[in-house]
Symmetry: C2
Subunit: 260 residues, 2 copies
């Protein structure tokens, strides 16, 4: 039961399901769930929560402790600190990190904890490097992902597009989203790999506004820490990139302690 529940985070399973799956009485299933709940919580492996009501049952909610969050933050700092990552123009090579399943899982666990009660209907990201992180966060929250595209494709059907100023590239860029992608009036959690001045996140917010979608949270893995004012309001970053010194090969990156 632990395996089935934790393979489907935040999804509610009826007790009946386990009764028929394991051919067992409701009382035995209840007893076993109580034991499973205790094991998980005692070992900091997440929570098992009883969902009341008609559609109710039991669900697994991932949870990591403050100490585990800090450990992930430090690990990301260590990953990022190698001078071989410096690519010129203050840019860092991070594709290997962002596309690593192990890293994405850990970062996503932080966002899933932070935004557990944000009421998001979707996780939204702009292609490409934030996709694994957004996808993994969505899996933990049991909601779908919407990937905002840079190019429109015929297979997307009708789209809504906006132009925005990207500080990273120093030019106007376009982003678009399929009209079929989301229900009007829903809530979105924006997840991305990197934020400098927040131009693309502001663009996503404006694009979502065209769909009457409210942004209920913004999470980024790495935020540039040397930007005095960003274009977006409140956001949560896992680490802050304070500076890159190309001549000495030094990368100054620290955990964001405001995450707690």
């Amino acid at each position: 039961m632990i395996k089935i529940l934790s393979d489907h985070p935040n999804r509610s399973f009826r007790l009946d399901y386990f009764c028929s799956r394991f051919n067992a009485a409701k009382s035995s299933i209840s007893e076993d769930l109580a034991i499973a709940k205790k094991i998980l919580s005692e070992n900091d492996l997440g929570m098992m929560i009883t969902v009341p009501g008609v559609g109710g049952g039991v669900k697994y909610v991932p949870y990591i402790t403050d100490a585990q969050v800090l450990e992930v933050q430090k690990e990301l700092c260590r990953h990022l600190a190698g001078p071989e990552r410096i690519m010129g123009g203050g840019f860092l090579y991070t594709s290997d990190i962002m596309f690593s399943p192990g890293v994405a899982e850990k970062l996503a666990a932080i966002f899933a904890r932070k935004f557990a009660d944000a009421g998001a209907d979707y996780v939204v990201t702009l292609e490409t490097k934030g996709i694994p992180l957004a996808f993994t966060t969505a899996r933990l929250l049991d909601i779908p992902v919407i990937v905002v595209r840079r190019e429109t494709k015929i297979s997307e059907g009708p789209t809504i597009s906006i132009n925005y100023f990207s500080g990273s590239s120093g030019k106007m860029q376009k982003m678009s989203m399929a009209k079929k992608a989301a229900r009007r009036g829903s809530n979105a959690l924006i997840i991305d790999d990197f934020m400098r001045a927040g131009g693309s996140l502001k663009g996503i917010t404006e694009l979502l506004d065209e769909f009457d979608i409210k942004v209920c949270g913004i999470g980024v893995a790495i935020a540039a820490g040397d930007i005095p004012e960003t274009k977006v309001g409140e956001y949560t970053s896992v680490v802050r990139l304070m500076g890159v010194d190309e001549s000495s090969g030094t990368i100054d990156v620290v955990p964001n302690i405001q995450i707690f």
Copy 2:
């Protein structure tokens, strides 16, 4: 232990790890692992395998039965069959499916089963829609993902690019991969969401060839079934799209029975 092992598929854990994690003797851990192994296999929830040798230990290997594979195939066919998916030019809207964590998990389980012994060092995909599937497959195989990009970015550092003919768009396109992305002489499993004539998969193969990387498998979620000859050799598709009739709104999609 089941939770920890199944959260990290194909990753070997030493018994010592569990001894210290749960403050238990090696003999108790061994006994419990034997029970866990039995529970998983009896309930078709995957396998627990003992890894011999110095670096050995125990690992969880995801496994789904033939019946489960067929169920996933049928489910994908049902998802795809809605006439509202038809976008003109025979294209189908599939973003919601490909970006659904639940669907990606199930499809990835099929690829992880098919390519368990292919010896892949990387999962490679071309952005964008195949990323969740490639990423989830990589997580199950415990290997990293490489995302081949359409545009080169400064943060990628030096890249190698090729031009290829894309049948879907009817024009030449470019794809590129960061020189830092992969070790020369390794093996790659290519995973993508859709294949028509195989132009982009052939392109990926040629690009990987520039890195001395051998393709040890190709898996696609949906393959067009009405193409007499593809540009790539052997590949595995989950379902075959036999035809789309725009006038009647009929989508003919069937499980690929050659998957077994």
